[in-house]
């Protein structure tokens, strides 16, 4: 049983703020991923939870107790590091049992617990090897095993997959998810990879410049970003975002991207957007999957747009089509069967049910 609570958490490095006031409640057994670009303060936040960094201001609670001044070893947490940090002079068994041996647990119990965790992770064969005899993926498993075997209140992961090659990363991602399903423990996971964040998290916390931009379930973040930053950060390929003008004629709203391209705003959003009509500094956002090839059965609020593709990227299951509107490069995800060709003017279908209107100055999604 361990919730983790951060209250107005602040960290300055020699007057340079790294974390500028974070409030976050992490429920027991929840898997929370902190994600953001490098320098956004996510790793610093994790290290403060671990007790590896002093905190400049605010409070950290683990299991209801304030742990601001509690040393790492007494916080009952376990951490998996980006570079694994295995003890090079110890075997896998010794690495995993190090914390238990420090606690002076009986030998039998140590052996039993290590064996059980090694079983979960499939590293039972490796227990007598030294870290240098292991592959990257195996080292990663051992590092996780070392954390799990201690049965801590909280797991902390610091970009654990970023040293692995792409294929192994996808595999280990699934492994981590499986392990969390077996060993239900509160987990805080830091990554800069938004795909990792989306796939692993119960709740994703997007950080930027030392603050939380938005926290929520992966799909909520994806479909209803609260800010320009989240809209642009979550999703790959990224959301198409370009400047626009909101025009009102006879009670109906239109979003105009440039001289040629403009879309009617769906009727159910008219009330929400009306106040911004004519306002400057608005941005229009639409995800690539909502810009597709023309389809025979169109739904309400889908409307055609004529573009000249500049580049097409066949991905097999889809073809990415890149074109410019209003000086901004935009991306559409089309069916390969549509056979869109670069340089050949073509019609795409924009699904405005999923459009976003963003106020550039405040960065808020309206």
């Amino acid at each position: 049983m361990a919730q983790v609570t951060l209250r107005n958490l602040v960290k300055d490095y020699d007057q340079t703020p790294a974390v500028r006031g974070i409030d976050l409640d992490i429920a027991d057994k929840e898997f929370v991923v902190l994600v953001g670009p490098s320098g956004c303060g996510k790793t610093t936040t994790l290290r403060m939870i671990a007790g590896l960094e002093d905190i400049t201001g605010g409070e950290i609670l683990i299991g209801g107790d304030v742990v601001n001044d509690v040393p790492p070893k007494d916080r009952d947490i376990a951490m998996v590091f980006q570079n694994y940090a295995l003890y090079p002079h110890m075997t896998v068994h010794e690495n995993m049992s190090f914390g238990l041996r420090l606690k002076k647990l009986p030998k039998d119990e140590i052996r039993r617990r290590v064996a059980a965790v090694a079983g979960i992770l499939g590293i039972g064969e490796l227990l007598d090897r030294k870290p240098k005899q292991l592959s990257g993926g195996q080292r990663q498993r051992v590092a996780m095993g070392r954390a799990i075997v201690r049965n801590p209140k909280v797991f902390l992961f610091d970009e654990p997959l970023s040293n692995l090659d792409a294929k192994l990363r996808v595999h280990m991602r699934t492994e981590i998810k499986k392990v969390h399903q077996k060993v239900r423990t509160t987990t805080v996971y830091v990554t800069h990879d938004q795909v990792e964040a989306m796939t692993l998290a119960d709740r994703v916390v997007v950080m930027n410049a030392g603050r939380i931009e938005q926290a929520g379930a992966p799909n909520d973040l994806y479909h209803s970003p609260a800010t320009l930053f989240v809209a642009g950060f979550i999703g790959s390929p990224a959301m198409n975002i370009t400047g626009c003008a909101l025009e009102e004629t006879a009670g109906a709203l239109r979003v105009r991207l440039d001289g040629q391209v403009s879309f009617p705003v769906p009727a159910e959003r008219t009330a929400r957007y009306r106040a911004y009509a004519g306002q400057r500094g608005l941005l229009f956002g639409l995800r690539p999957e909502h810009l597709t090839e023309m389809r025979p059965h169109s739904v309400a609020n889908q409307c055609p747009v004529e573009v000249t593709p500049e580049v097409t990227e066949p991905m097999g299951m889809e073809t990415l089509v890149f074109f410019s509107v209003n000086g901004t490069e935009m991306c559409a995800r089309t069916n390969p069967a549509a056979n869109t060709q670069p340089g050949v003017r073509t019609q795409l279908l924009a699904d405005l049910n999923h459009m976003h209107l963003i106020d550039e100055a405040s960065g808020r999604v309206l």
Partner: protein, 288 residues
């Protein structure tokens, strides 16, 4: 692989051999000459016939030295001083290097540089001030520090501690920070991080420092010469020179034998520790 590359590699190898052989010859000639001379009688040495060959080999020099109470005393003094100095040096340097490399505290950077600067002051500058200090201590406490072999146990660490600390700061700094953080999270205290993680992982560095401390305290000449005057208080380097050179009579055979025997312990220790010294133990700790 092109032929020219292989040719270039062969040329590079050939040159390395040339220089390695040159070095080996330069460095091995003196011990070889010592060995040859140690097998000669004084008469044969002074006859100056072909110094590189022994016509009447004899072990007289060896038996004379190994039965001489004075030489055995030098040896014993040297050994005790050496072991004590190495122990004291390590007891101070290891925790010092650990705290200077890992525990950020006010002035730790300046202190680390200060430690190194201390080492740069040559001993030739220090033995006269040390004399003064010893005289001062004797005036105030009545304890005589001069002319005792054990005073070297106090003096040598002033040479060995700064340098050994400096070497080990470098080695400890090369240990990834995550390793001690992982241990801290696993429940270790700083002392356990030092003994269970740092010492095993930085063993090559600790051994390099040990070898240095051993070599200094075994072979240093100036301080033993300056601070011990009676025969029974001398250590090997000073003792050999003091007893085997009588006025202007150089007993070359015994001098060479004594030096050769004196060089044996470091040689044995180097050979023994070399494997550990070379082994890179940090491999596999982190990605790389």
């Amino acid at each position: 692989m092109s032929a020219s590359l292989r040719k270039e590699r062969r040329a590079a190898l050939a040159w390395s051999y040339v220089f390695l052989v040159l070095f080996a010859v330069i460095f091995l000639t003196p011990p070889l000459y010592m060995f040859i001379t140690s097998l000669k009688t004084s008469a044969e040495i002074s006859s100056a016939k072909l110094p590189w060959w022994v016509f009447h080999p004899t072990l007289d020099n060896y038996s004379a030295l190994l039965t001489s109470p004075a030489y055995l005393t030098f040896f014993r003094n040297s050994a005790v001083v050496c072991v004590a100095v190495v122990a004291i040096t390590m007891a101070i340097s290891i925790p010092a290097a650990f705290s200077l490399s890992r525990m950020r505290f006010w002035g730790s950077g300046a202190l680390a540089t200060g430690v190194f600067l201390t080492y740069l002051i040559p001993e030739t500058l220090l033995f006269i001030p040390l004399f003064k200090i010893f005289a001062f201590v004797q005036d105030w406490t009545g304890i005589e520090l001069m002319n005792h072999w054990w005073i070297l146990i106090v003096i040598f660490p002033t040479l060995t501690v700064p340098f050994c600390t400096w070497i080990m700061i470098g080695y400890f700094a090369s240990i990834p920070k995550e390793l001690d953080e992982a241990a801290l999270i696993d429940g270790a205290g700083y002392l356990q991080v030092l003994t269970r993680i740092f010492l095993p992982v930085a063993l090559p560095g600790v051994i390099a420092a040990t070898i240095f401390a051993f070599t200094v305290s075994w072979a240093d000449f100036l301080y033993p010469m300056a601070f011990a005057t009676s025969i029974d208080q001398m250590v090997l380097p000073a003792g050999i020179v003091s007893t085997l050179i009588k006025g202007d009579v150089f007993n070359w055979g015994q001098i060479m034998t004594a030096a050769l025997l004196g060089a044996a312990p470091p040689l044995v220790i180097y050979a023994f520790l070399m494997d550990y010294y070379i082994a890179g133990l940090t491999a596999g700790a982190t990605k790389g």
